[in-house]
């Protein structure tokens, strides 16, 4: 089974979020990049588990510049066999998805996995876009993934519950919590990652469909109003009269 896992870099969850250049760019100053947790913990680790059980190959792919190679090596250290970096700035979800689809076309991947969203732009877009571009079925926000022969079975979130579904490979699946557990790379993995193939591919000629024009920060919260724990009637009255939420 050949699995393509799409990974994205993302700022570490504890990063200070700020903008620069007249609030038009994310301020990368002092930001530590990690593999987007959904891509790593769920998509990549589940892909490795499937490969370990059934054989095959796990390729990771990202759209980015040479500065992203450190993040790619980390994913290789966790156990992916090889990596593709499409050498372009990731301008929007459409651009990223179409670059990946362009690369994957005709390569015979049985499964294309992504995390359910990235923790920076939170759009949940790339997997569905790849599926449409390659005309493949798409199971979104799956919390379980198993493969038997060419049958892929998943548990997916639906509005107000869960659903068990099946689809025939090849398919695109976005992965969420429940599918696998985080793996910490060991020293052997880190050493091996240095020599694993990281192939840099020239991007296809494509235009983004969207642009982030500016950014802003939420208004600072005014300080908390403390309520006497013995006077909950006061809190209920405030929630009704002042906050108007009940």
């Amino acid at each position: 089974m050949n699995i393509l896992v799409c990974i994205s870099k993302a700022p570490d969850t504890t990063s200070k979020i700020a903008f620069t250049n007249g609030n038009t760019q994310f301020d990368e100053n002092g930001v530590q990049y990690i593999v987007n947790p959904y891509d790593e913990w769920y998509a990549l680790v589940r892909a490795l588990e499937l490969k370990e059980a059934q054989g095959g190959n796990v390729t990771i792919i990202t759209v980015g510049t040479a500065s992203d190679d450190a993040v790619i090596r980390k994913a290789l250290a966790i156990g992916a066999d090889d990596a593709i970096r499409i050498d372009a700035l990731a301008t929007d979800a459409y651009f990223v998805a179409m670059q990946i689809a362009e690369y994957a076309k005709g390569k015979g991947f049985d499964l294309i996995l992504t995390g359910k969203e990235t923790i920076d732009y939170n759009g949940s877009q790339v997997a569905g876009m790849i599926a449409e571009a390659l005309e493949l079925p798409y199971i979104s926000i799956a919390t379980k993934l198993d493969v038997a022969g060419s049958t892929i079975s998943c548990e997916r979130e639906i509005v107000g519950g869960m659903q068990e579904v099946e689809v025939q490979a090849p398919a695109v699946i976005s992965c969420a919590k429940g599918m696998a557990e985080q793996r910490i790379p060991n020293m052997r993995g880190i050493m091996a990652a240095r020599t694993k193939p990281l192939n840099v591919v020239a991007p296809a000629a494509l235009e983004a469909l969207t642009t982030f024009s500016t950014y802003s920060m939420p208004a600072a919260k005014s300080s908390v109003k403390l309520i006497d724990p013995n006077n909950l009637d006061e809190l209920v009255a405030l929630l009704h009269n002042e906050a108007k939420v009940i």
Partner: protein, 313 residues
């Protein structure tokens, strides 16, 4: 023409009314497309929120997003849509990106407000820690609206309904089983949420949380450690790696407020924090705080809500 896709499988959800209201406020006429067997009388009530016509394809069950993509694309061609609106819920997340590629139309994923004067649309980024303003460079745009970003508004008006055969083809995804907890309010749609963390000491103490939620008509939620140790089901876990919610009121008991938890709830309009530790970081993000023991405060809170509700009637 603005086109809205709604899921009408379980009646008209608040999310559906929000998207129709949003489309109306964008200006231009509003057409709605839906699948399934909802009664025409029910769909016609969307006229009050600004829809002028509803196209209904009863032949599409909606299990496969690629069918819904064909349905919405066919409706968009029929009505000549320039803006297409989804709710940014599980269906919107599955369908809108596919439609973006199919129509080569830019997608604003997770809008939290109407477009600005310069045409850009505000979305949450960095897990709610900031906002971004997205511009679409294509002639047709798609917007998925984060639930509970605007309130449904009745402006009055009539609406026609029409059977619509979109030729959406068959589903490639076969459904083996569906599990839906009876009567529970789906967390992403809930306006009021009562949540608790490890401070509750064990799953046997969740009755206090459920009692307050029942008195308020709220959904229940929990922190990550609580879901990880199995005290509560995973679908209740709110936070960075769980569900992100933006209710009107979020009540957190016994949750310290780690940055990863805040990422899932910082879109809430009002936050109430109950914690024994006055230094808990969550108080910095709270509107109202109670320094006290959840075991004493939650039952008193429930009684106070009941007194308030009784006085209202």
């Amino acid at each position: 023409m603005n086109l809205v896709y709604i899921n009408s499988a379980n009646g008209l959800s608040k999310a559906a009314l929000e998207t129709v209201t949003y489309a109306k406020k964008l200006g231009a006429d509003v057409a709605v497309v839906t699948n399934g067997n909802a009664a025409a009388e029910l769909l016609a009530t969307l006229g009050a929120y600004g829809a002028s016509t509803v196209l209904q394809d009863a032949g599409v069950d909606g299990q496969d997003p690629s069918q819904l993509v064909k349905l919405v694309a066919a409706a968009a061609a029929k009505v000549g849509a320039s803006t297409i609106i989804f709710s940014h819920d599980l269906i919107g997340k599955a369908v809108a990106p596919r439609l973006s590629v199919r129509l080569k139309a830019g997608l604003v994923a997770g809008a939290v407000a109407l477009p600005e004067a310069d045409g850009s649309t505000k979305v949450n980024v960095f897990s709610g820690k900031a906002f971004g303003y997205v511009k679409v460079n294509s002639a047709v745009r798609i917007i998925s609206l984060l639930p509970n970003s605007i309130q449904p508004e009745q402006t009055g008006g009539n609406c026609s309904t029409e059977a619509f055969d979109s030729q959406a083809g068959s589903s490639a995804i076969s459904v083996k089983a569906t599990k839906k907890p009876e009567g529970a309010i789906p967390l992403p749609e809930a306006e009021l949420v009562v949540s608790a963390g490890r401070g509750l000491k064990g799953p046997e103490n969740w009755g206090m949380v459920e009692d307050l939620a029942a008195a308020l008509g709220a959904a229940t939620a929990c922190s990550r450690p609580v879901a990880d140790i199995g005290w509560r089901p995973h679908h209740e876990h709110v936070g960075q790696t769980g569900v992100a919610i933006r209710p009107n009121l979020y009540i957190a008991a016994g949750i310290s407020g780690a940055i990863q938890h805040l990422a899932g709830v910082n879109g809430s309009k009002v936050i109430v924090v109950i914690n024994t530790d006055a230094e808990a970081p969550f108080f910095k993000a709270a509107d109202y705080g109670i320094v006290g023991d959840a075991f004493e405060v939650l039952p008193r809170f429930t009684e106070a809500v009941k007194r308030f509700r009784a006085a209202q009637h």
